[in-house]
Amino acid sequence: MVEVVKLNKSFGDLSVLEDISLKIEEGENVVVFGRSGSGKSVLLKCIVRLLKPDSGEVFIDGKKVTNMKLKDLNELRKQIGFLFQGAALYDSMTVRENLEFPLIRNFNFTESERETKVKGVLEKVSLEGAIDKMPAELSGGMKKRIGLARTIITEPKLILYDEPTTGLDPITSKEISELIIELQKDLKVTSIVVTHDLICAKIIADRAIVLKDAKVMYEGRMDEIIKMEDEFLKDFFTV
């Protein structure tokens, strides 16, 4: 589904990603770990071409994203969901307008179909009451959940989550993790999830990737990673 080949990205002198190669199968949930500033968000943005890699290739569904025409890229992006670390809600629009925005512009749903979809995703993130609020009136965690609702409302086949549970209480966090699993089961969604949240990772991860010093330091099953005899990994996973 997603393949990254020898991807390099730097900002000025700072090399953020070096020779990153990954392969993610259809229907798989892969979790990406790494310390703050290790380039996790940059990696996600390179995959959807929000950032241009210095070198290397990205393939989605076998199609080469890196030098695709904008028109084709947009067709592909309609099938991709992206949850930003900061939620990135449109702050001049209400929650309802935020959710309807991609529906109106990219798909031909009737008004009542849209209404059903909006209500449906809000129920999934348990925020039915926020429908007519402005983003500024929401708490940080609520913004995150509305961001998540906006990401899944178009029913994408591939979803990239940048820290979906950060800033949420343990109960909500668990609900969100279960929602991610549910999407995988019901809609066969492929997911790449950046997270620091071990509980969340244990629930959702089929496989985990650890980034360190701009490289993929480890890649393997979640339960194996936790048991690894490595200083860094031990520090990382023992709370």
């Binding site: 943005k45 959807v48 929000l50 947009n74 067709e75 992006r77 309609k78 991709i80 992206f82 930003f84 900061g86 990135a88 809600l89 449109y90 702050d91 001049s92 925005f101 991609p102 512009r105 990219n106 178009t154």
Partner: protein, 266 residues
């Protein structure tokens, strides 16, 4: 005699700022040309354009109203004693009308508009940039240039002539207040001499050039905001530098246009 090399000039502060300025102008031109490529393709987002026009109108209405009326009033107050000295007091209405319609109205409105609007657009788009809202549009396959920039530039361009005609009207009213207080001239006579002195060649270029000023304000504000960097600091910078650059460009372009209109309508 010491010859100054090109490199030495480029190393001075003035040299650097000049280069910066021309780089900005080059980037701005590329940014603006994109407008003409995208504005004429669907979807047209007319709803957004209308929303922005109403917003801009409401936002600038109070300041241009006050400024328009007062500039007419003051202009008449200043000119009256001078004209009296030359025994040409009866030319006062024509003089005020011509100055306002040909030059003061359009430029004053444009500068006020720039101060109020291009800073607003710069801040608005700047904060959308740094909070990744523009990226969010892009990944949802929505063209942010089209949705955010094209609509704002069109709104600015269309609303400027309307504002200018309104300012012209108020300035002429303001000037009548001064005339009424100091001279013995009734409203009908005043309006008659204003209308008689104005020709198409005075009105048309004055209003037409405000389309260009409106475009400049929209394009510069959007440009600065769209490429804002460095978090909230960058948003502030986008907003102030948008005002500076758009005001400067309005004055420069105005100079050129005045020359052109004088040549065209001798």
């Amino acid at each position: 005699m010491k010859i100054i090399t090109r490199e030495e000039i480029l190393r001075t502060n003035i040299g650097k700022s000049l280069i910066n300025f021309f780089e900005t102008i080059a980037d701005l031109s590329v940014f603006s040309i994109r407008f003409f490529k995208e504005a004429f393709l669907p979807p047209y987002e007319l709803g957004e354009v209308r929303k922005h026009m109403v917003e801009l109108g409401v936002k600038t209405f109070p300041i241009v109203s006050v400024a328009g009326f007062i500039i007419g009033l003051v202009l008449a107050m200043q000119s009256q004693p001078v004209l009296l000295r030359f025994g040409a007091e009866s030319f006062l209405p024509s003089m005020v009308a011509l100055s306002v319609v040909r030059e003061l109205g359009p430029v004053l409105t444009a500068l006020l508009f720039a101060g109020r609007v291009s800073s607003g657009i710069g801040a608005e788009l700047g904060s959308m940039r740094v909070t990744e809202q523009i990226d969010a549009m892009e990944v949802s396959a929505i063209n942010p240039y089209k949705y955010l920039v094209v609509t704002r530039i069109i709104a600015c361009t269309l609303i400027m002539p309307i504002l200018t005609m309104y300012v012209n009207f108020l300035a002429i009213m303001g000037s009548y207040l001064a005339v009424m207080l100091s001279m013995n001239m009734n409203f009908e006579l005043y309006i008659n001499s204003v209308v008689n002195s104005l020709q198409f060649s005075d009105l048309f270029p004055g209003v037409a050039k405000t389309l260009i000023f409106g475009f400049i304000v929209g394009a510069v504000g959007s440009f600065k905001g769209f490429y804002a960097e460095n978090g909230t600091v960058g948003v502030g910078r986008a907003s102030t530098s948008a005002v500076v650059l758009s005001s400067l460009l309005i004055l420069l372009v105005d100079t050129v246009l005045v020359k052109v209109t004088v040549l065209l309508w001798k």
